[in-house]
């Protein structure tokens, strides 16, 4: 691995990783405040990507930047609505049900969302109209596409905004209280229902933003749902219940995937075969290794059982 290869990998990896981090934060916030592991998160990313493209082209009569802005606004509203609807219609009746049921319900939700998307958009790769010119800029001497830079910057800005929101706003504090101790928070006047609803809406919006940013950069197809699972890797690395952990995990997965995955694909041969698509499984290897070493993630809290 040459120094230049690693440097390029790190820069690109950080850019992609910042988007993973954003998606992972949605995941973690949902887990923290509702204790639900959402295996439909990838579908929320997909939903954001497809809907934003469809909405942008629906506003095609406007100049491209305006159409894009309108498309994004519509998508975010729809994502929030989807989050609220899921919480109200599916998750609320399952409150207090065993872990297994809840996980499977999120899987089932993923099925439904993806099924409908395949039905409507039939699985072809779609791209946004050229919102940002397809030029290449140099970051730390490394060529990166301008879209990538913009996406990463947007993701970073949003991450900062979200952390400020959780630290200082009323709802942010309520959600953190609920995350800490659900029953206590509810006796102190925090409406758990609302916290859950907001958490779902937040997760859906974060996923959708991730989908839009990745879609701008790489185009949208059904492989995008796998990004949800990369966010899962990020979250596992960071520990399910740690927001800073999720951000760091996202960046880490981005870098490892680009550097290690890229290297393996380009240079390593097994049984004389090049390792096509190794990048895609790097995230899962990361998950397994992380769990072997630290079963509760790098920053996750381990529960001490009292008898």
């Amino acid at each position: 691995m040459s120094g230049q290869f690693v440097l390029e990998g790190v820069v690109v990896g950080l850019a992609v990783g910042s988007i993973y981090a954003l998606i992972a934060v949605g995941f973690t916030v949902l887990y923290k405040s509702t204790k639900i592991l959402n295996l439909a998160h990838g579908e929320l990313v997909l939903f954001g990507g497809y809907l934003a493209i469809a909405a942008t082209s629906a506003f095609g009569f406007l100049p491209t930047p305006a159409a894009f802005a309108a498309g994004v606004a519509v998508t975010l509203l729809a994502a929030a609505a989807l989050g609220f609807a899921v919480e109200r219609a599916v998750m609320r009746p399952l409150f207090g049900q065993p872990l297994l049921s809840v996980i499977i319900v999120t899987l089932a939700l993923g099925y439904v969302v993806r099924g409908i998307m395949v039905g409507i958009w039939s699985g072809e790769t779609r791209t946004f109209p050229p919102v940002i010119p397809a030029t290449v800029v140099r970051v730390a001497g490394v060529p990166v596409s301008l879209v990538g830079v913009w996406s990463a910057a947007a993701a970073a800005t949003l991450l900062v905004t979200f952390s400020l929101f959780f630290r200082y706003s009323r709802w942010g504090i309520a959600m953190r209280a609920a995350a800490n101790e659900q029953l206590t928070a509810s006796t102190l006047g925090v409406s758990l229902r609302r916290v859950f609803a907001y958490a779902w809406a937040f997760a859906a919006v974060a996923g959708a933003v991730g989908g839009i940013l990745l879609g701008l950069w790489l185009g949208v197809n059904f492989a995008l749902a796998a990004v949800g699972l990369k966010a899962l890797a990020a979250v596992i690395l960071g520990g399910l219940d740690s927001v800073p952990g999720a951000i760091l995990g996202g960046l880490l997965v981005g870098v490892v995937e680009t550097v290690l995955g890229g290297y393996m694909e380009a240079h390593v041969r097994v049984l004389g075969q090049p390792l096509h698509g190794f990048k895609e499984v790097t995230a899962y290897l990361v998950i397994l290794l992380a769990l072997m070493v630290r079963p509760h993630g790098l920053f996750g809290t381990e529960r001490i059982e009292r008898l």
Binding site: L37, V90, L99, L100, L109, G115, G119, M292, G297
Partner: protein, 347 residues
Amino acid sequence: MAYARPCGDFKTSYAQDMALLDIRLYRWGFLLLLAAMVAAPWVLGRWIYLLNDIAVFAIGAVGLSLVMGFAGQISLGHAAFMAVGAYTSWFATTHLKLPFVAALPLSAVVAFAVGAVVGLPSLRIKGLYLAIATLAFQFLVEYLIVQTVSGMGGTPVPPMDLFGVPVNTEVRFWYVVATVWVVGAVFATNLTRTRVGLALMAVRDRDYAAQVLGVNLLYYKTLAFALGAAYAGVAGSLFAHYNRVIGAEHFSLAQSIDFVAMLVIGGLGSVWGPHLGAAFVRMLTQLLKMWAPVLGAVIPVLGRATTSVHDVVFGVILIVFLIWEPGGLATLLRKFKRYVDLWPFPH
């Protein structure tokens, strides 16, 4: 022994009390079920392939019910173990030139071993984290299949051969698969009412208490995964020789989730659950395959693709079951059984 449940407890030995089919009605019912299985090809004609399909997946589902229903360990990678069995059987019959009767147990043994290895970390990795670990395992196996053996296409598998008799028709396959099905199901049911089953349920219900009562958590969690994988391996081996071609798409994450769906719909922690669930899920899959174009035409949102109809219908059914009947079909059946027990009285 009465036909229906007697009023008052007339059992005179513990053996009677612990028998699976404790009244004559159920014993006759079970014999009738076996007879129906023998007669099925004549009754069903060419539709016997539906039963073959159900049987293969029911065997796999029984394995998952040991892992999830009895031991309470979430596994989202069950199809990967099926793949292990299928490719073992393929390798044994093509490269090692072994007969099917040797390849089938070999598949079970290899899958058992792989299951034990995957199950080992389950002592440290728990709950959600374990679910994710099995998910990662699923993806890695899929990747491995594509990279090493099958590529994006499939690998051809020779037909089943039983002591020189080629098992090349649906009817012949039915008798083979039905035998394995019944033996496997009875074996699993017996497990659940003896030492192994008690220990697994103890681990599921409260692992620390089980430990203090002498249950070795590492041993039993690993055993659960290994047993579950062995069943999946047998199902994989049967599937390979039935379908005659195997590839990554047969053992995908979607298949793993279908297995989970079978358990949830059938009823977790019930011995009939996996069979009912497998029957429901596979029948529905086949029906949807036939009717998808019609449904797509009526409801345009569902579009042209079969997969989308399948996904949406499955997702909705799963959600409905989990919200309204978390006990699954087995619980519905139990309610019916209670009705039979009490007949002709309402309570």
